[in-house]
């Protein structure tokens, strides 16, 4: 049999929730280990190796030392996969990009002496692809386990994973939900990439856009819907801050 692909999992600035989704595969983790060799995964194992084919990278990039480390990972990996919203789009970490890094440091650390310490040398929060090329994306906050499995099996079979390029509404409709707009709520589903099985609207929460926007908030069609539901551009900008701050551009991967 062909050698199993070696997989390493890395994290940067994040809550490790996506790694937890993998760890939580439970019995299926055994299946996973059948098809790949996990050579590094700090959250669940002590061993570490720099010999890997696939790097699953979680978290946003905040500091020059993170960038360096990520570049190192990129060099080692044949395939680099961004895991979860922090890595794919910057996610909640980008909320702080609203302010200058100095202001943020001051807010958090007050007058503590951290200047000159590279661990505290923080810049703007970045998604992985703002630092290195990324091959594939597993979107979401947290990631969807089924989608994770789908991407891993595709990579193990040597095929390109198929990630939806259409909005959450498609899956929401298949789930036969009452539309959040009909319930008087403001949902980002129409402009957010599907693949989550519309989990939020299905549990009666409007979509917050954690899988990234596939349409600009400024497009004519979004304006039309905002108007129809008595919302303003300011409202949608605020809604997008949660996961998509500064990323209101269209990321429709043609």
């Amino acid at each position: 049999m062909k050698q199993k692909p070696r997989v390493a999992v890395f994290d940067f600035a994040d809550c490790e929730g996506c790694e937890l989704q993998i760890a939580n595969l439970e019995e299926e983790i055994i299946d996973l280990l059948e098809i790949v060799d996990v050579v590094s995964f700090r959250e669940v194992m002590k061993e570490h190796s720099d010999q890997y084919d696939i790097a699953l990278v979680e978290g946003s990039i905040m500091r020059p030392i993170d960038e360096k480390r990520l570049q190192g990972i990129r060099k080692n990996a044949k395939i680099l996969v961004a895991l979860g919203a922090c890595a794919t789009i910057g996610g909640v970490n980008k909320i702080r990009n609203q302010w200058m890094p100095d202001e943020v440091m001051k807010q958090v650390y007050g007058d503590a002496k951290v200047k000159g310490n590279e661990l505290f040398n923080v810049g703007k929060a970045k998604a992985l692809n703002e630092v290195v090329p990324v091959d594939y994306y597993i979107h979401g906050c947290p990631i969807d386990r089924d989608e994770f499995k789908q991407v891993i099996t595709a990579l193990a079979l040597g095929k390109k994973p198929e990630i939806p390029r259409y909005p959450v509404c498609v899956e929401c409709k298949k789930n036969e939900n009452i539309c959040q707009f009909e319930l008087g709520n403001f949902c980002l589903g129409p402009i957010t990439r599907a693949g989550c099985k519309a989990i939020c609207p299905t549990h009666n929460m409007p979509c917050d856009g954690c899988r990234g926007l596939i349409k600009k908030a400024e497009t004519e069609c979004v304006k039309e819907v905002l108007e129809r539901y008595h919302l303003t551009y300011e409202d949608i900008r605020r809604r997008c801050t949660m996961y998509n701050y500064g990323r209101e551009e269209c990321t429709y991967d043609k």
Partner: protein
Amino acid sequence: MNTLRAITKKELHCFVDALIADGTYDVVGVKAKGKRFVYGPLDHAEDLRLDHDVTILPPKKYFLPPLESMMQYDLKKPFEVQATFDNKQRIIIGMHPYDIIALQQTDVVYLDEQQDDFYKKRRDNTIIIGSDIDAVSERSFAGSMNTHVADTGFDVLISNIGTQYLLTIGSEKGKQLVETYAKTKEATAADLKKLQQKRNTLLEKYKQKVNITTKDWPGVLVANYQHAIWEEHADTCLECSSCTMVCPTCFCYDVRDQVSLNLKDGQRVRTWDGCLLRDFTRVGSGEVFREEVKERYRHRFYRKGNYLPARYGFVACVGCGRCGIACLPDIADPCNLINELASFGREEDTERFFIKQKTTVEETGIIHVPRSATVTRVEHFNDLDTFFEIQLDDGKPLGHKPGQFVEISLFGIGEAPFGVSSPPSDTPRFEIMVRTVGNVTSKLAQLKSGDKVGVRGPLGNGFDTTSFEGKNLIFTSGGTGMVPMRSLINFVLDPKHRKKFKNITILYGAKQPKEITFMKDVDHWKTVCDTQCEVTVDRCDEKECWNGCIGLVTTLFPKIRMDMYDSKNTIAIVIGPPIMYKFVIQCLKTMGIPDENIYVSLERRMKCGVGKCGHCQINGIYTCKEGPVFNYNQIKQLPEAFE
């Protein structure tokens, strides 16, 4: 004739409860979900809401589920693939007439000569207990579509006539069911009158009305194909396809292979797709055939109001109003759109979007499950193109005509269409050539002799070679267009057939010398007397050795020995990438070859290959059924075909 029985409210409840208690059937019916309604499993008769206005999703979810497993396989023994049939016996209670009519329309498409076995099974296993409409949905316009009442298509129909209910028996199955489980009385003439009254007053409840009859839909659509309205509306379209998801008459689907995490077993699934989504027409090369939102937005209305009416005689909209509710910018409602269009004008000639040519498709039994086959020869022509000889394991010949195609499956990866490149044969062997572009093609390129693949087909129409007899033939192909062309050329050059045709010219253009495929055939054709064969390349890298022509395939036309050709008695066949057609056809016209003597073969995204999934549509035409071979004269006017 339908028989009518009367039943009290209490007895109706007992009837439903008896059906649930019996356990033979999975009993589903209309239930409340917040302020809306949905079909769902019934635990008690009380949950059944016959007073519903409309459900969020139509009952199509029980016949073509949003995600449906079509077949399962063991990746080690993929040739033992098994279709996965849903054998559940089901009763659906509460279907409104418009949904019953929508289901009858789906029957016409899914139960045609290429019958969809999964759908058929579900259809056979389902008993439909319909319900007359009590509450009219605010957006429904069924009244003006004549879909607010149904005379057929149900096994039983429940009608609330105030004091009690009437059961119209629509089938033998329905009769049995009522006799076994319900306590009913003979309906009286007075009951019947009440029912008539109810239906008459129902019409008045509709606030939404289409101002023209369904007969006139094609005319207003065709007259306004280029109207600015499409763009105006499409500017506000979210490309969410909610309109098609909730529609009872939209049934296009995508097909995917899913593999379990242990890479041991897999399944092929189909899932609802929508023509408003950009990827719906996207092919491996990255080309999207309906790139503009306007084109996709328009396509949906033309399919409903023009393409299916011309093909089957019904407008594929039943006026349920679901899309009007679902579309956030409120541009999806056919009632509003048709009324707006009707104010602009109409046309009598509505044939422009079709071709009259109707292909008879042979009944081939199970249409979705591939036959097992073995790769018997692999040849790598260059780093992109791989040639395969494939043998069907059942030992039967493929039975194809030149120009037909097959769907080749790699279990766990997917399925893709390929032209057959060998001439018709009575052995179980045939040949294809695969250019690597995406998942299926890349994996195919790695196969070795002895590996297994799945085969469906032959599919599509192919060339009618008898109509070419006694004629001069000019074959022009570019790129992978040579694949099906080779089948045709080798058929006519076969000594058994050669005498039936007159002069033959073969023109072939490739991007660069290494992309010239079937070099051995080309060399052979060049030596065959009374056949002219010319090859050109667009460009030649310095490293490559090439002493032939350089230039587009059109540069070869001056070489044709025109003196030998009576253009009226010449047939030209053109197969190549989309951009090639315009230029080559211009050359042929200059030569004086009439449009009706020109044949082309077109490529579109394909999934099912049997006229169900909707991906290959060029306006009203299914490329997989009426094509891929077309007479140029018949489709030159067809918008979208060559643009």
